[in-house]
């Protein structure tokens, strides 16, 4: 598409992504974290461990789960749900959003279906996940894919709707003929910022859905959280929540760096 401004990722992208480019902001952020942990510690002294475990107990639980290998196994298992679920849901969501928004005919045909299906929470589809895929990785990935689909569908639909009619006119006067050429050469690049915002939101939401998708017995981080909850092991619950947060942070920082690189043309 654009002249190659270089696919090289230098340290700057990562530093900006992490917010390390502004030391003052970083310092304040660190202050917030330390303050929160201290408050948490103070509060935990007044409560039994099954209501609010102390940060120290959580760190211990974290170390224990990590050392026993349970954590890495669970995380690997969840990643195997997250990657295909996110990938399939995002791809189909973007494709459907762009196609239905661009084509008046497809939009008319699908609008009632979309409005009917949209309010169905992914969790309500667990029965289908089990019936169609079984209690396995594919079933969990299916739940995640449904969540990713809708976020990306609406973001892409809106982004294509927002493409300026004037740019399409310019394209027509410059020889763009036919819908496919128009979509490829103008509609997609013009709506890319909105589409990528949807993808980024979806990547985060899919980590949340990992917990839900493992509720019916598929192993993973979500399963560990549910198991620990049932045993009132709140420190272990928090340890695994931290795992999800860290994964989210990692993916979000990486994606944001890609996003800034791809959208370098933006004002």
């Amino acid at each position: 598409m654009a002249t190659d401004t270089g696919s090289r990722f230098d340290g700057d992208d990562l530093r900006i992504g992490l917010g390390l480019d502004d030391p003052r902001r970083l310092g304040r952020g660190a202050l917030g974290v330390v303050g929160f942990v201290l408050l948490w510690y103070a509060a935990s002294l007044t409560q039994p461990a099954y209501v609010l475990p102390s940060p120290v107990a959580v760190a211990d639980a974290f170390a224990e789960e990590l050392a026993s290998g349970t954590m890495t196994t669970a995380l690997w298992s969840s990643v195997r749900h997250w990657i295909p679920g996110t990938f399939v849901g995002t791809t189909l969501g973007v494709a459907a959003g762009v196609a239905f928004s661009w084509s008046g005919l497809l939009d008319d045909v699908t609008a009632p279906l979309v409005r009917t299906l949209r309010p169905v929470p992914p969790l309500a589809l667990i029965g289908f996940a089990i019936a169609w895929f079984g209690i396995n990785d594919a079933g969990a990935a299916f739940i995640i894919a449904v969540g990713a689909f809708w976020i990306n569908y609406y973001a892409s639909y809106g982004a294509v709707e927002g493409v300026s009619e004037d740019l399409l006119d310019v394209g027509r006067t410059l020889g763009v003929r036919g819908g496919l050429d128009m979509v490829r050469s103008i509609v997609l690049p013009a709506s890319l910022p909105g589409i990528l915002t949807g993808v980024r939101t979806g990547l985060g939401r899919c980590w949340m859905l990992v917990v839900a998708s493992e509720i019916f017995g598929v192993p993973g981080v979500g399963r560990e959280i549910l198991r620990a909850s049932n045993n009132l092991l709140v420190d272990t619950v928090i340890a695994y929540i931290l795992v999800l947060s860290l994964m989210y942070l990692l993916v979000d920082v990486a994606f944001r760096a890609v996003q800034q690189r791809v959208l370098a043309w933006q004002a």
């Binding site: 310019v170 027509r172 043309w265």
Partner: protein
């Protein structure tokens, strides 16, 4: 009295437009009818533009200038009449016309050079030919050193130069412009006007230029089509008999401006 005035419509009675690169606007009418009472935006608009000629269309706001521009560009259908380019009826957008809009409408995700080359990608030219053409156009508008910049980093005047280069790259017969300098400051506007005249002189293109700025029209045009409103129609066609390069201080220039303003009625 400045200028020889032709009565509107008389030229196209014969029905055949000029053969090469000329434009015939032939009894064009446009009625907007969206449920309420129909609005007649244009009525019986006729004039010709000779090959290589520079014609400006001026008129008060609401006289249908932009509607006429869109109809000539093939972006809007006329209710009556037709547009002919080099004798052939215009039925839709065509790369035989280079169209320049007021708000530039550059593709923000493409660099300057890629914007200029956009139309060429759809032509049957070889890649080497396309690249040569892009360089030629960038040179023409003096933006060679900005070839790899994105539009966000350009000033309004530079953006409009890119838009002009982009529309000229496919080598159209006609350059069709809708208030192209309306969004830039006065100094930049005068500079762009001079540059456009240079481009016109060096390429020999036919130019049809819509503006509400009478002084701009007198600066640029061989002839000025003066429009009136309600419904939009041709009030008069004024020949601009002022030698080029034109100076605003020249009495003949002032007479033409006064004459056109009088035809339009009260206008800044």
């Amino acid at each position: 009295m400045a200028g020889v005035n032709r009565s509107p419509g008389s030229e196209s009675e014969s029905g055949d437009g000029p053969d090469d690169a000329g434009v015939a606007v032939d009894r064009v009418g446009k009625t907007y009818d969206d449920g309420g009472s129909p609005v007649r935006a244009l009525d019986d608009v006729s004039f010709d533009v000779e090959p290589g000629e520079f014609v400006c269309v001026v008129g008060p706001s609401g006289c249908g200038k932009t509607t006429l521009f869109r109809i000539i560009a093939g972006l809007t259908d006329a209710t009556d009449g037709e547009i002919r380019l080099a004798g052939a009826p215009v039925t839709g957008p065509t790369t035989d016309m280079g169209v320049v809009f007021q708000e530039y409408h550059l593709f923000p995700w493409l660099t300057v050079a890629e914007n200029v080359g956009f139309g060429l990608e759809r032509s049957d030219r070889s890649e080497a030919e396309r690249e040569r053409r892009v360089e030629e156009m960038l040179d023409l508008v003096g933006l060679t050193e900005f070839r790899d910049s994105y539009p966000k980093s350009l000033s309004g005047g530079m953006k409009q130069r890119v838009a002009i280069a982009r529309s000229l790259a496919v080598d159209p017969e006609l350059l069709l412009m809708d208030e192209p300098f309306g969004a830039v400051d006065a100094q930049t506007r005068e500079m762009l006007q001079r540059e456009l005249l240079d481009v016109w002189a060096s390429t020999g293109k036919t130019v049809l230029f819509v503006t509400h700025d009478v002084a701009e029209a007198v600066t640029l045009a061989d002839r000025i089509v003066v429009m009136a409103a309600d419904p939009g129609r041709v009030a008069e066609i004024v020949d601009v008999d002022v030698s080029r390069p034109r100076e605003r201080g020249d009495p003949a220039f002032g007479e033409h401006v006064a004459r056109v303003r009088e035809l339009i009625g009260a206008m800044p």
